[in-house]
């Protein structure tokens, strides 16, 4: 299976395959930090959200935040992963000014979540399974500020102790597109679950990327870890650059050194940060301030019962409603989009019609305006009403777009707008016949021409629509015109 989907990179010695694994750090959505009661809000004044525990004052002790544990379990269940009822917090020891205790509390040997999986949807319609190795909880560090003073550095401890989930994938991705698709899907899942806001700009989601290359069919090559890549675009760029670099080294007869590299987004390249020999010895050991974390199966079951429908299941359900795979994939990609779509259905719209309307009309306008679905000016009920009016032949598709324009700029109830502005479609046969006859009488030459050239019926339709202000039902106009002109039905 992997061979068929591989996008091999051509080198001077033949094709190479990229192997990618990701370690994704997700900030757990929680009002308080992992081991202290301090707040976690983004953008607060430096050092305004720091408890004595976060500043590692003498004698301070960590106490686990139950909400964070539940969020980690929830995420694990969303990744269809094994929940470990007993997990252990370890200390990862190293000195750094933004690490006040001199150690980070993390989970090393016994994480809270074990093996799971994520299915990613590729552009060609292919679905690929990416294994999840583990998910563990850990504290974030603070932030060193080097640009505030000519010869001093400052430390902001607001982030110190904020709860993170590190989600580690198997090396199951074979291209930068797959890595980006994985991250996108993971982001969708945590956002559906409400366990992480997935905001990469604010650093709530960041990834370390492990890249290696190999000849097709060969064993895994030596990997390099690229640290802290903080956008989907950069991840793709970093992988592309790094794979090419490794291929060049290998083809020149060199070997890849296992090392940690940094991605420089301005130069678009990765640079060596430290080699394996220079790697820290973190001296992990179980944190004696914290007892092993023991979960009750009943709590896990309770969380499992409260899980929302996730994108994969939602996509299947949408397809069962008659949506195409493409439409369903687009609609489930963001929870807000799916919710919006479902709100349209709840208000009475037909599934297929609503999906078409969103994909063909509304999303385009949002994109153009640079708005997300949550920030868009048209409520789901309004779009639902427009779609329903089209389905019920109350308005034509053309009028529907006009109505959307009005609601977009002025707001208001689409049904009332149609009523007030007299935009209702004319389905009264008598009225349409009158309009058709008027056009025929006024254009005897065109009538003759149409008999020889049936395509000209389109011109007549246009004239009738014009004279009815676009309100005549187009199919009724078509049928009556054909009868009057003596043209065959259909066609």
């Amino acid at each position: 299976m992997s061979a068929t989907r591989s996008k091999y990179i051509q080198g001077s010695t033949g094709p190479w395959e990229i192997v990618v694994g990701l370690e994704v750090h997700c900030q757990i959505l929680s009002a308080a930090k992992l081991f202290s009661g301090a707040a976690t809000e983004f953008g607060a004044d430096p050092n305004s959200q720091v408890s004595f525990v976060d500043a590692a004052m003498p004698g301070m002790l960590p106490v686990i935040n139950k909400k964070c544990v539940e969020q980690a379990v929830r995420t694990g269940l969303g990744l269809k992963a094994k929940i470990n009822l007993t997990s252990v917090f370890d200390r990862k020891n190293y000195f750094y000014p933004d690490l006040p205790a001199g150690y980070q509390i993390s989970q090393y040997k016994n994480p809270i979540v074990g093996e799971g999986e994520v299915f990613i949807d590729l552009a060609g319609g292919e679905t690929v399974r990416v294994g999840i190795e583990r998910l563990h909880m850990e504290q974030d560090a603070g932030k060193s500020l080097h640009d505030q003073h000519p010869d001093h550095s400052f430390v902001d401890l607001n982030r110190s102790g904020v709860a993170l989930m590190e989600i580690v994938s198997r090396p199951d991705m074979r291209s930068s597109e797959e890595a980006a698709a994985f991250l996108k899907k993971l982001r969708a899942i945590v956002r559906y679950l409400g366990t992480c806001d997935g905001n990469m700009d604010e650093g709530s989601m960041r990834a370390d990327v492990n890249v290696s290359v190999r000849k097709p069919g060969a064993g895994l090559g030596t990997r390099c870890e690229i640290k802290n890549v903080n956008s989907m675009r950069f991840i793709a760029q970093a992988i592309e650059f790094e794979a090419r670099r490794q291929i060049d080294v290998l083809e020149a007869g060199g070997t890849i050194k296992q090392e940690t590299r940094l991605f420089d987004s301005r130069a678009g390249e990765t640079r060596s940060m430290r080699s394996k020999e220079e790697a820290h010895d973190y001296r992990y050991f179980p944190d004696p301030d914290l007892l092993p974390l023991v979960l009750d199966q009943a709590l896990v079951d309770e969380i499992a019962a409260s899980l929302p429908e996730l994108p994969d299941e939602k996509r299947v359900r949408f397809m069962q409603m008659g949506l195409s795979a493409y439409d369903a994939t687009v609609l489930v990609a963001e929870r807000e989009t799916a919710d919006y779509f479902e709100a349209m259905l709840a208000a009475g719209a037909d599934a297929k019609a609503a999906a078409n309307w969103l994909n063909n009309e509304y999303f385009g306008r949002l994109n153009k305006a640079g708005l997300s679905i949550a920030d868009g000016p048209v409520p789901a009920a309004a779009n639902s009403a427009i779609v329903q009016m089209v389905s019920a032949d109350v308005i034509s598709g053309k009028i529907a777009k006009d109505v959307l324009d009005v609601v977009w700029s002025d707001g208001g109830d689409p049904r009332a707008i149609v009523e007030e502005r007299g935009l209702k479609q004319v389905t009264d046969t008598d009225a349409i016949e009158k309009a058709v006859d008027a056009v025929i009488v006024a254009n005897p030459d065109k009538v003759e021409a149409a008999k020889a050239k049936p395509q000209l019926v389109g011109w007549f339709v246009g004239q009738v629509m014009k004279s009815t202000g676009g309100k005549a039902n187009p199919s009724a106009v078509n049928a009556i015109l054909k009868a009057r002109l003596g043209l065959p039905e259909g066609g």
Binding site: M57, P58, G59, L61, F95, F285, D289
Partner: protein, 497 residues
């Protein structure tokens, strides 16, 4: 019972009655102790004296007493080991690196004591970061024991690491003191100063706000002149604490209530592995005497085995330094404490701050701890030590199938001279041979004064109980105390000095 004429000679229980009966005000009592503390400065028992705060707290107690509101320790002056963070009062842990540190918070244990009405006399000297058995590693200089060998003026150690607390209790500079015990730091100094010291079950007292040495071993406890006083103070110190995940939610009993219930029918275990070759004959003699006393009061003496005892000291000297090396990483000069001057970068700041801030014993243990946790050595040292720790704890579980309380010597010998063991860390570490096992197993241990050596120096006996069975340990301790009838007090030579 007739009260002593000098209020500093009161036991805590006696002072409690006297204050409650308004025979003496808290302020009068406190003033007497403030004077005694000042007069005893040659002992170097205190790092920080807090006479103003003591007077203010005593006055507040007197006001409450006047209204008839009497809390369990109302108006009773205590000394606090300088490892407990006290809000607004400098807390040094005996270290240069914290020599300017004033905590903006109060430890749970001391808060419990203040809530019970106790009065703070000051912060007592201690081995740096509680690492030591003689109080000689303190940045603020050694504590001098109030005790001297008969016919000698040689300065002796008070034991450690709670040496300042032990000296204060034994020299009547306070009614009682707090200590902390990671490998024997309450029981060993209590034993060599003729005091009572209890290390409660791990989790009985909150560790929140106590400067950490080895988190899985550290436990706070009382140091007093009588077993009854230890029962009273422990009751006030102990509590479950939502801020300490390792504190345990078991109700704190009224230890004092069961103190005189006697030992009839109790089985007292004598662990045969605690009979060491080369131990001074006086140690064996006092141990045998202890067994006889309890036997005479109706207890049954049974020999038990703790087969992994010989591994306890090496296990302890892997686990404790490992945890310490990590716990002490936060002292980096960045946020609080001493920061080195004239540094050129962050690594230089760390290195100089820590080189100047820590003394040699602390550095030794940080090095040992860093080594045993290093990749490649972790399995050989730390992991094996953890396995041994499990076996040592299991030894006790097995032994307690055959007995209710264990009786052992508290220390392998009496107090030694200042400087006698500083050159040889291993001989210093051997002081803890009878006490570390109890920390490794997380059990309660009590040291009770039992007699004097031929040179007139105190020796103690240790009682070890089942987890959270402090009540039985204290009851047996009371029986030993009664039989030993230990009334010796050091001569107050420092007053003439």
């Amino acid at each position: 019972m007739a009260l002593p004429t000098d209020p500093t000679d009161f036991s805590l229980a006696e002072a409690r009655e006297a204050v409650a009966a308004k025979k003496i005000s808290s302020l009068e009592l406190t003033a007497a102790f403030i004077k005694a503390v000042e007069a005893a400065r040659p002992l170097n028992a205190f790092v920080t004296e807090t006479p103003e705060r003591a007077a203010a707290m005593a006055s507040e107690s007197d006001a409450r007493l006047a209204k008839g509101v009497v809390r369990p320790l109302e108006g009773l002056p205590l000394a606090i080991k300088d490892l407990f963070c006290t809000k607004g009062v400098r807390t040094t842990a005996g270290s240069n690196i914290l020599s300017n540190f004033v905590p903006p918070y109060e430890s749970t244990v001391t808060q419990n004591l203040w809530n019970a009405g106790a009065v703070l006399l000051g912060k007592t000297n201690m081995d740096e970061f509680a690492m030591g058995s003689s109080n000689e590693t303190s940045h603020f200089g050694p504590v001098i024991s109030p005790w001297r060998s008969r016919g000698s003026n040689a300065k002796l150690v008070p034991g450690g690491s709670s040496g300042g607390s032990a000296a204060s209790v034994s020299a009547n500079l306070c009614l009682a003191a707090t200590g902390t015990d990671t490998g024997g730091s309450i029981r060993q100094p209590a034993a060599v100063t003729g005091s009572v010291g209890m290390k409660p079950t791990y989790g009985r007292c909150s560790r929140w706000g106590i400067v950490a040495f080895a988190s899985s071993l550290d436990q706070a406890g009382p140091m007093t002149r009588t077993v009854r006083d230890a029962a009273i103070i422990l009751k006030a110190m102990a509590s479950v604490d939502p801020k300490d995940s390792t504190s345990v939610d078991i109700p704190v009993p009224d230890y004092e209530a069961g103190l005189e219930s006697g030992v009839k029918g109790l089985r007292i275990g004598i662990p045969k592995e605690y009979r060491m070759d080369g131990a001074p004959p006086e140690i064996d003699a006092i141990w045998n005497k202890g067994a006889q006393w309890l036997n005479a009061q109706g207890a049954e003496i049974v020999e038990v085995s703790l087969p992994h005892t010989k591994y306890a000291l090496p296990t302890y000297y892997i686990v404790a330094p490992a945890e310490a090396s990590s716990n002490l990483a936060r002292y980096d000069g960045v946020r609080y404490g001493r920061r080195a001057k004239d540094v050129h970068d962050i690594v230089d700041l760390y290195e100089k701050s820590r080189a100047d801030g820590f003394g040699p014993e602390v550095k030794r243990r940080i090095l040992i701890g860093t080594y045993v946790l290093s990749s490649g050595y972790y399995d050989a040292y730390y992991l094996r030590a953890q396995k041994l720790r499990t076996l040592i704890a299991r030894d006790f579980t097995e032994a307690f199938r055959q007995c209710d309380v264990l009786l052992t010597p508290a220390t392998p010998g009496p107090a030694f001279a200042i400087g006698e063991k500083t050159a040889d860390p291993v001989s210093m570490y051997l002081n803890d041979v009878f006490t570390v096992t109890v920390n490794l197993a997380g059990l309660p241990g009590l040291s009770v004064p039992a007699g004097l050596t031929a040179e007139g120096l105190p020796l103690g006996l240790q009682l070890i109980g089942k987890a959270f069975d402090e009540a039985t340990v204290l009851c047996v301790g009371r029986a030993v105390e009664t039989a030993a009838n230990f009334t010796a007090k050091p001569q107050k030579w420092w007053r003439a000095a």
